[in-house]
Assembly symmetry: C2
Homo-oligomer: 443 residues x 2
């Protein structure tokens, strides 16, 4: 090739970012496109939703992270379609961008199992905006309860339902319990926040279904110890303004949080590749799209099987996949064959409330305070940005001793109207609005 | 009185909060009502708008601050009217609240001099939401410029106009210059952010008109040194989607920030008291409303003259007024006469960019680095919350050495629709929406 090859990366999450970093060290042109300006450390999003951390503590501008790679260009845009035969990607507006190689890393989000109408009353937790929306609803519920003289409405306001007993649901439920019993203690005069009900609803037979059963039991015990009501074998059949239905049973709640189901990014559909039942791309052994060796899929959007198991949608899956694909692209440029992806399971961790967690690392299984310490250390170390690590560390130390939550502001009702784009064709508002709509409504 | 007297305080800013703290130490019932859940440290709002700090760094939940005062109840609500003869306040929804004494501390905001239509294109900076909106526009402008091939539109995107040369405008302009020349250096590939134009427009003949002329000159010199174009004697006659008009001169800009004019809280109108030309209440010597000794007005909403000068709308005015009024209410309860308010001017400070400031404290006038150190120390010390002081201190030290800005996330387009209140009568969304509309549109 007379000109440097051009690699386009769609998505600035764990996978896309790592791929850009790897390729940025070599003589290729890279364009990374994300529909927000920041990389979000998703494992700590529940902390934003429960006012433990600021959005900026766990999200960093992508172009700052990639600043030193002069061959990497970062663009803010919403990629809506890939023209695989023509090797072009199309964004919501502006000109299409041609590529020699494409890495699709747009991830997956939660799923309402065909009931997208649930989204309005039960937001999920995949983006900073969703985290802030949930935070707003949680703390507004207490504010309303303080003013509402009607006992039935008060009870509904003081009932919080989390749907989905995986790590996100467990962590949310634990934090909600902390808020009710510790953080807000003594701050209200007409309500007793410690009487709030936190209900975790899981369709399967145990919480943390992807962990070994022993750790599921430990997590369950920890949750019950801090007053969370856990309902297993319970499927939510309806979500509306009154709360949820589990079959015929009605639970009245004004704050429902959705942490269940998987739905792959819709961009996968334009790749013309076989998809699994939630929309993930059935990739080849080298993570490329069948029939198109120049198109790769990594992270949560890729369905890759190893030893009969699918590589889970966790950070390590994306990070390792990114490194493999970056190397494969460089090999292809040199005219060499690609190498297959080999995933190394480094383990999982989830916290329950303030000082408990469960963790499996290799064959080691930890729970309780020890696991929690390991969780804290790991998450601080892997957070991007030294300053962020210091700030998060301080906030967590503080919160540990005072139970205070640093970021309880209720705000964020920036009207779409107030930020309406100017008459000139401009991205401002439009893309973000559509992105947010997509993020919050899981369209 | 057989029952404890009831004092209602409207507004959780500097004045209302201080009054609640003072009265909370005595045997009176206090209800403080604010339309948000947090107290905002307004002097540092420009830091939120320019991504230097998180909202939570400078805003604290009111009920946390007042937690220890068991006789103080905090309610989130929008007070729309005062029935002075009946001694009742009415909120946007819910029951009216009766009082024995009322303290109105709802403050003032910016004014568009009769052109409220400017608000859509030139937000002001009085609330956290406005700070986030401005921040979003600033950083989106750079993102759009990176993608826009049209040179004229690019120039407009890289032109930032601040209207109003008081402390807020000067601080915003300085920070905008920092962002362009330092923070974003090396992060873009198609634009040179250091070429962005920052234009500060002031109608009067000098910036910082309320300071002594020598300090205005120092501020002007500092601004020019960091590349800010300062236009004095220039009135903005129009603001639209293309930018601003100064008479016949058109300045094309996609990001206009309004830091000019004063408009008092509209709540003042229902007090039946004489108002000045921007709507502030002409209070008696003891800060009470003429003809109603049980109603007091403090802070930016009060027009109080001393030695021929009006007490300025600064934090000290509100704090000192609050202490005076709290004492006066206690005196009235005891059947004693009230005491007049005596204001002590403790000085003013304003920063210009990263390491310069001007300050007058008593007869001492400082400028440059020394003034900036004093500014930093004072603002950290007076920030509420020890943890916040530590966090702000760390972020500022970091920013000083790295020019990095910690909170550059573009987010916050939480659609009103996504947060629509449930069918049951509920505050959620409604009050916040109206408050935000009020805050951003200066209705």
């Amino acid at each position: 090739m007379s000109e440097r090859p051009h690699v386009v990366i769609v998505g600035g999450g764990f996978g896309g970012l790592q791929a850009a970093k790897e390729l940025g060290k070599h003589d290729v042109r890279v364009t990374l496109i994300d529909r927000t300006n920041h990389h979000t450390f998703q494992p700590l999003l529940y902390q934003v939703a429960t006012a433990g951390l600021n959005p900026a503590d766990i999200a960093v501008p992508i172009r700052r992270i990639l600043r030193r790679y002069e061959t990497v260009t970062v663009l803010l845009g919403d990629v809506v379609r890939v023209d695989v035969p023509k090797k072009r990607i199309y964004m919501e507006d502006g000109e299409p961008i041609s590529y020699d190689f494409l890495i699709v890393a747009t991830g997956a989000t939660h799923s309402y199992f065909g009931h997208d109408e649930f989204a309005e009353h039960a937001p999920g937790l995949k983006t900073v905006d969703e985290g802030l929306l949930i935070r707003q609803r949680i703390f507004m519920a207490y504010e309303e309860a303080e003013r509402d003289p009607d006992n039935e409405r008060k009870d509904a306001l003081l009932t919080f339902v989390v749907v989905g007993g995986g790590p996100t649901g467990v962590e949310m439920a634990g934090a909600l319990s902390e808020i009710a019993r510790k953080t807000l203690a003594r701050e209200f005069r007409r309500i007793d926040t410690s009487k709030a009900r936190i209900i975790l609803v899981e369709g399967g037979d145990r919480v943390l279904p992807s962990y070994v059963p022993m750790l599921s039991e430990k997590a369950l015990a920890s949750l019950k110890k801090i007053g969370v009501e856990v309902r297993t074998g319970a499927r939510v059949t309806k979500v509306d303004e009154e709360g949820v239905m589990i079959g015929d049973e009605r639970i009245r709640s004004k704050t429902v949080i959705w942490a269940a189901g998987v739905a792959a990014s819709p961009l996968a559909r334009s790749l013309g590749a076989p998809l699994d039942k939630v929309g993930r791309v059935m990739v080849e052994k080298d993570l490329s799209v069948p029939g198109h060796h120049e198109v790769f899929v990594i992270g949560d959007l890729a369905h890759f099987e190893q030893d009969g198991h699918m590589v889970p949608g966790v950070a390590q899956g994306a990070l390792q996949g990114a490194k493999c694909v970056a190397k494969n692209i460089l090999r292809l440029i040199e005219g060499d064959a690609t190498a297959p992806f080999v995933y190394k399971d480094l383990g999982s961790m989830a916290t329950i409330g303030r000082a408990a967690a469960v963790a499996e690392v290799g064959s080691a299984k930890m729970y309780g305070f020890v696991a929690w310490m390991a969780w804290v250390v790991l998450h601080i170390v892997t957070l991007i940005g030294f300053k962020n690590r210091v700030l998060v560390f301080i906030q967590w130390i503080w919160a540990y001793f005072t139970h205070e939550r640093g970021s309880r502001l209720i705000h964020g009702m920036v009207h779409a109207a107030a930020a309406e784009p100017p008459v000139l064709p401009s991205q401002r508002g439009k893309d973000l609005a559509r992105s947010t709509a997509r993020a919050t409504a899981n369209v």
